[in-house]
Symmetry: C4
Subunit: 207 residues, 4 copies
């Protein structure tokens, strides 16, 4: 057993991340091995799930350490996780999922964000007092890694994001200062997105 593997198995967050993987796959928010989870291990490193590995069967040994002081070739999703960790030290956990409702919602909304109004559960993802009554969800178009990071940089400069954003057809990203808070943000945004998709679809049929 090499030192890196030992480190993962001693990391209690690694075990929690695997448990969360089972919880999320049961809800079918990670079809076909999609999605990427990570948990911060230091100021400049994190453990990542292996790409395409079925997240219902994760064990700590399946997590891969990534250190941005020694950058490797990386895909857009990994680069987005790194961006979020570098943005704020409080960001401890990042989750990318691919469920049906978020995927469809991200394609139907043409604007670069959608405002959620009138749901009591907004309070669970509000990052500011104002977001309790009007909570934005940013939506980006898929682009090259470089352009995606540039746009995220601009979005975070301009707005306070409510612990989540969508990339059209490319999944939902959520984060938190712990596994529990990231899970809470994920579950709440899944609920809000599914409600809003259903509400808008039905609105023309009512009254």
């Amino acid at each position: 057993m090499n030192q890196s593997l030992q480190t993962h198995q001693l990391n209690p967050y690694a075990i929690q991340l695997c448990t969360l993987g089972r919880w999320i796959t049961q809800r079918q928010w990670l079809p076909s091995g999609s999605g990427l989870f990570s948990v911060r291990t230091s100021e400049h490193s994190a453990l990542f799930t292996a790409s395409d590995k079925d997240k219902s069967e994760l064990s700590p040994a399946d997590l891969v350490s990534y250190d941005w002081a020694n950058p490797n070739e990386r895909d857009t999703a990994t680069a987005i996780h790194q961006f979020l960790y570098q943005l704020k030290p409080q960001h401890k956990v990042v989750l990318q999922t691919h469920d049906l409702q978020a995927t469809v919602f991200s394609r139907l909304i043409k604007a670069d964000q959608h405002l959620f109004v009138g749901y009591e559960l907004q309070q669970q993802v509000a990052a500011t007092a104002a977001q309790r009554s009007c909570c934005p969800l940013a939506i980006l178009d898929p682009q090259s890694t470089e352009l995606t990071l540039q746009e995220l940089h601009q979005r975070f400069e301009r707005d306070t994001l409510a612990y989540a954003f969508l990339i059209r057809g490319h999944g939902l990203y959520v984060w938190g200062d712990s596994i529990d808070s990231a899970k809470r943000h994920l579950e709440t945004w899944q609920f809000l997105i599914a409600c809003e998709l259903e509400r808008i679809k039905a609105a023309n049929q009512f009254n």
Copy 2:
């Protein structure tokens, strides 16, 4: 172990309420730790679920006693439970849930109630003989605690409610004279609301 904790564990309703919590969370009617359950313990007190506690993992020790002779600071949901207990001694159990269909339905219906007609299962929630053929579901707008209680007072003076009402975007409240009857009312209203949402959405596409 203090006396309050002992009381909860000796209360058979406390155990049943925890079992019901698991049944309800399996149906995904309580996203992100939302919802509030309570069971009456005396003329002027009840046991409540702790706020934000995941109801799939409730144990009797997680229930909190609340006595309205010695009022604490309380949120709107707790105040509504208390209101229902004070309204009638037969009210023994109150459940607030947050499922997708009830949330969306409450936002789409603009009137202050919706009449359910033509469903055999109405008989399971009918509080009067007339409600077997035409069963109303009251819908309130979210307001301050004080205004919400005022409006509930007026609604109950004016109408016989069918063991349930909705607060727009803020969940479904149901009650009963036992855990079993509250569960039955909850399951029936979830079914009726989901049917009616689907029926109205589809009505324009048919014929």
Copy 3:
């Protein structure tokens, strides 16, 4: 243990019917203890599920014998089961369920039957060669027991029913010459109804 109870426990169909109850409740086709199942025990008798009993928890001792040579007070659902047993000796099992899709579908279709065309699975419920390509599902309005039986009598005189009919807002009835065939007819009709509901809803949005 009385003789009637012994009889039930010795009846292998009684055990199979209870197993089927769990399979059906898992699919949420029996909300709030609704539905009625029965299995023929002789030319003029059958075992019935007790009314309002949760069918996920059935045991053979929960089944009630009913003999139409010694008629009791009976509700419409029981009378319909009896009618089907008396119609043909091959009718061995009758199931009434209350799922969302069948309930909504029965309310949206205004005609007294709906023709299913173009589904490969029609062959599983076709009672005649012609029904493989065009399979009717009869839909009745809810009425008094007496009028319901009169109308069923006329329907069966006029048409060959494909092992099922709907009563608007009052559930789906299916039957078969064994538990397995009744289950197969139920599962197939649930699939066909859910497909057709979705197809008609979506048809206006496509092309």
Copy 4:
């Protein structure tokens, strides 16, 4: 135990195919015993699931060997499996399923194919680099076995299919060079079809 049975039980793919059967039936993509799975055993033979057998209860002994050097009477689904095996030696596993979304989608799309654009998961089924950005799903009308095979022959001559096609109302066919890849193609196409069905249905309601 005859030799054929021994062969099946020694075939590790036979066991994997049974495991896959349980995974697929849990998702309710095989109502009423429908669907057909097979795994290649040689250049000119494959093991098939028995027709109408519930695929949640498959064991290797339930698989039936079929050798196209000694052709039997065969139905259209079996003939399509054989066609796919004969087309390319890399085709090792073929799955036919019957889920609601694919069935409805195949009926709503009137064209002979549908182009999927804008989903990150397209990359999981893309058979060419171009299909990563625009991925076709072929849709055939149900016909006689002979005409179906003729049309499939023409389709494969003209286009590179993305490991799947639909027959209107008669199910989804996917294949792969291993059980894992066939499962991955199935799960991905189910996701893409369900998203696209929902997206098109909702498109008129948005913006």
